[in-house]
Symmetry: D2
Subunit: 338 residues, 4 copies
Amino acid sequence: MIIVLKPNISKKDEQAVLKEIKKLGYEPHVMRGVERTVVGAIGDERTHHTLETLTAWPQVESVMPIQKRYKLVSREAHKGNSAIRVNKDVIIGGKEFVVMAGPCSVESETQLMATANAVKAAGAKVLRGGAFKPRTSPYEFQGLGEKGLKLLAKARRETGLAVITELISQDHAEMIAEYTDIIQIGTRNAQNFQLLIAAAKTGKPVLLKRGLSMKIEEWLLAGEYILANDNPNLLFCERGIRTFETYTRNTLDLSTIPIIKKESHCPIVVDPSQGAGRADLVMTMCKGATAMGADSLLVEVHPNPAEAWSDGAQQVSLEMFAQLMRDLKPFIAAAGRE
Amino acid sequence: MIIVLKPNISKKDEQAVLKEIKKLGYEPHVMRGVERTVVGAIGDERTHHTLETLTAWPQVESVMPIQKRYKLVSREAHKGNSAIRVNKDVIIGGKEFVVMAGPCSVESETQLMATANAVKAAGAKVLRGGAFKPRTSPYEFQGLGEKGLKLLAKARRETGLAVITELISQDHAEMIAEYTDIIQIGTRNAQNFQLLIAAAKTGKPVLLKRGLSMKIEEWLLAGEYILANDNPNLLFCERGIRTFETYTRNTLDLSTIPIIKKESHCPIVVDPSQGAGRADLVMTMCKGATAMGADSLLVEVHPNPAEAWSDGAQQVSLEMFAQLMRDLKPFIAAAGRE
Amino acid sequence: MIIVLKPNISKKDEQAVLKEIKKLGYEPHVMRGVERTVVGAIGDERTHHTLETLTAWPQVESVMPIQKRYKLVSREAHKGNSAIRVNKDVIIGGKEFVVMAGPCSVESETQLMATANAVKAAGAKVLRGGAFKPRTSPYEFQGLGEKGLKLLAKARRETGLAVITELISQDHAEMIAEYTDIIQIGTRNAQNFQLLIAAAKTGKPVLLKRGLSMKIEEWLLAGEYILANDNPNLLFCERGIRTFETYTRNTLDLSTIPIIKKESHCPIVVDPSQGAGRADLVMTMCKGATAMGADSLLVEVHPNPAEAWSDGAQQVSLEMFAQLMRDLKPFIAAAGRE
Amino acid sequence: MIIVLKPNISKKDEQAVLKEIKKLGYEPHVMRGVERTVVGAIGDERTHHTLETLTAWPQVESVMPIQKRYKLVSREAHKGNSAIRVNKDVIIGGKEFVVMAGPCSVESETQLMATANAVKAAGAKVLRGGAFKPRTSPYEFQGLGEKGLKLLAKARRETGLAVITELISQDHAEMIAEYTDIIQIGTRNAQNFQLLIAAAKTGKPVLLKRGLSMKIEEWLLAGEYILANDNPNLLFCERGIRTFETYTRNTLDLSTIPIIKKESHCPIVVDPSQGAGRADLVMTMCKGATAMGADSLLVEVHPNPAEAWSDGAQQVSLEMFAQLMRDLKPFIAAAGRE
């Protein structure tokens, strides 16, 4: 920690700060500058009592952390890339570029099976589909629930695709884990720490979407909740942040691809459907994400987007998805993936 | 809903849109403008299948909702102000201006009792204190848990103050309800709908903090989850939003006071401690909130802020709080409150 | 400056950093921590070559400034409050609370004189009115230009009110200075430094609106351009920032009132009309700003808001303004102003 | 325009709205819904008096525009892609992918010539370099001024590269136009309309950077100021927006590439250096922008970034730039460019 003292404070006030620093287990290191005195506090910021409370002292101008607050997810903890095994055929974060695709919500057997067969034929390896949906309004469709999970299990059985679905309640963790290969934590629950712990404890791979206004550091720390609960199978998923722009539903922050790669050993997945909120932008977003080194894409696909029960505007049709998979090929190759 | 068609589309494409509108239960109403054709779709947007999916159609430029999506929380549903009874002595949203105060976290009996006695003496009616703390990092202090709840119960018994504490897990809802008079939903859980439903079902008053990047409409809709689950005792609490500014921890959006008053019948509480993240700004924020018609304040108070186990920078001392209560008096009077 | 080095770098890489720090005129001060080595660089950050470029070095993790970058506008440079004399009768930043009011745009003699007489009768001391308007679209009304300035001069002559109007072009600085008592720099030009310099050189008081996404530090530094060009007559004006919220046009950040008071000696003015973009919120915003210690308000008033040539939605009528001035009185008194 | 009336208003209040709509030259079209009455106002929103002022009327709930406010820059006005001729060899927006590169600021002949020769050798076609620098603080390096322009002219003469430099003052427009092939409008001046008009009038190609918090619609409208002043040579340049994230200096919004392509016929350039503010992210950003269909890149390059006089953290070295140009090749090919 670096503690900046206010200009012209008394010797006594300065001593009080130094005493407190020592009391909390750090070794103070005084530097007298032209206008201000600065104190470096040496010690492990993650295990000691935080010095940020010193901000409340009248003689202190500011307190700045030096150490990174995340540990297990950090690149420093694990130099190589972590590759996450999803099932016997699918690994995310390795040489192969993996596409996950499927409807926003599971609506019916017909809808799900048509989508599953089509995305498999086009080259997807994982089927996405929401059975429990967190909706902004209590009056909107909340998902088919366990019936939806059973349909996903059927699609998995018949197509061999792995399955990803969202967990929205701690009480469902075990049930969801039975039916799915990857547990998705949605953007609105990205700092619902009890849910993160429940998901971690299933041992299944966890895909953690970035919260709507989550700083990268906070996202990494939310991921730390998974690893700190003995589950090393973490995937970060960028899906757009909230900004002032209203043309798109969210602003997809593709810079997180190189940043997560730099700060962490965990794979990074990009969800261009939520990110743009508009099917007509999804294809271009996918190209960018692929070129920038994303390990995987998560794409919303629906047999008839205009009649979808949720988020129709952002789902691409089966034909568009097949086209997308064809058009992505040169970019996957240019990025050195298979 | 208003559906704006793209310029120069074919008659057939236009007919397809009109057919879909009828199919979804609305009556279409065509207006031919200079450049574009616009279709008004008449029907109750809250009960019908949403037309927003039409955005995915190539001949459609945009779809705009007309109706408000919230219902039970809206001023249209209930013309008067709802006053929420907290215990036999305390009502929030009535003539009396109510101050809630206490530490960020319950740390010990000494700390809590000292604070409780001091804030009562200064005029507070409700004691706040966190027993379960949602923390950004898994390595930070997570609260005393049920032991903290028991200390709150003791403080309530000895001082007569009502108690407010945060709920962070569905599984704790019943336990928390036993110990507290108001259940607080924190900013990171503001769209954790399962938690909202669990809180609603206890029947206790629920204080719903605004999420970090929650639009006012989304906040009202999250409140709708409480009322739609048969609990009319809802308090909205503004606590600052996330913006680009880094001087303060959050940007306290005081404009929500008149806006919530205009859109809803539920009381509005302001939390200047989280909003500013700096004790030295709390007093001024309280004056503003009071003048603008807030029904209540939620202030973090600690006997020794610099040694607090969480959020020390934003807690005011017992002396500062007593001063604050004295200085607020003329503003409470000017606002026509007691 | 504080320079944080990466973990496990070579002795040689560390030496290179220390050498560069010395070369740029600072004295390095090494602190060896548990995981990282931190270097304090002692020297005046405002006069030396910046060390932030060290961020580009591979062995450097981060560089953090310690000193404040503003100087003349800072409270450290001038302990007391600066009171700005506008004309022989009006001082902003003193004991008296000053209200500035008038139309968004000057439209006609009738419109301006009706407004001027009404706001004077209600107690305003300064007449606002735009003659040159910066408009988002080239097809919108751009103001009456010099004809508008002449109407303002006439209103000043006949009512005795001081006048404030906006400068949008360096080339107009002298002309505007002839007709006005305060030069307004608008939000879109808040970092148009050539315009700031031109305004400063007139010697007239300059009201500097905060830019749409301007951090407080940047705003203070933009103000520094005025004082550094030998014009001490600076007024900061908060008018709302751009956030994700769409209910209001901007988010009025009232926390800037105590912050500017803390960081600077210059007065702070609040513009609730731009801040809210809705006339129905203006009154409540004014109460809050007054209670929080603003030195002055800048309110848009129009004889017939619905027919205004610009920004009709946010202008209050003559009657509403008179009511506002009456209703503000207890809050002005509570804030210790006259 | 769509005007939504409040529920349960009187017949008389409704009539007053209809009368005003007619008075302002629109034809009203009434739709009676379940809860609200909605009025469509038919007419050209760009040429008529705006109806947004109706928002100020008590019986009106909201007013929504339907037409797009931009005209000349829109894809509807010009179906094909506009290709902008920079000099006899360089066209931006055609089949060829054009890279512009050079230092943030022109510092000396040695620095500029070394950079110019190196970027030319690596394949760049345009040399960038700032002679007049808009700086946040008045105490920072403000550029070499006309001396810098002369050095750029020398580099152009000796290398044959085209030149781009920034215009920060209306008074410099003619001088800058003499020395440069493209005039850059910086992010802080993106809504300095007087500067836009002065730039347009030189007839030179104008590169318009997106403002820090500029909505896409506002950016297109600022571009409209160029075309409406008879200069068809407009380039949009995405350079990152301001968000809550602090890891990067700005958030590069790559979704603007497909959006500008969809809404406008003008080319889109991406500046990854400003966007990321970190040299280590520039390469990946360039890959993404190229894959997503940007017409050109604008990259900051410096012979010794750590000793740059401005923005050292975001400039890449000559070697890194040469590498970048090599690594980009497969992505340029995949995007169908040369």
